[in-house]
Symmetry: C2
Subunit: 73 residues, 2 copies
């Protein structure tokens, strides 16, 4: 699976776990909702600054964010 | 510390551990040496695709790459 798709899937899983809408997450991460939607669909080659914004908005540090089987290969 | 600087520091540490030059790493990651130099100086808002290229060139998956105290905050 392409890394963009893995990142998108991970964000969606974590967002769902927190019962946040894309709009909520976008607001907390100070990003556009349409950008979040594109990232979750695996359509964005997201930068590290935006990954950190999103993971912080999901109450996670980057170590925890990438601590998932998806990122073991 | 800014996330770009943390990424740069992590790459430099791992590259030094493998006794690779920036030129070697750039070749294996299929990126420009000047780009690697900029990333290591914390000057680049690197994308996830390029982080994966570099971590693979350092024989690491992303889980291992981010498994460092720098990324715990």
């Amino acid at each position: 699976m392409d890394i963009r798709a893995k990142i998108g899937e991970r964000i969606r899983e974590l967002r769902d776990k927190l019962n946040l809408s894309q709009k909520d997450l976008a607001y907390q991460a100070d990003l556009d909702r349409s950008y979040i939607a594109g990232v979750e669909k695996g359509q964005r080659n997201i930068s590290i600054v935006n990954i950190e914004k999103i993971s912080n908005a999901l109450n996670m540090n980057l170590n925890d964010f990438f601590n998932d089987a998806k990122f073991n290969s």
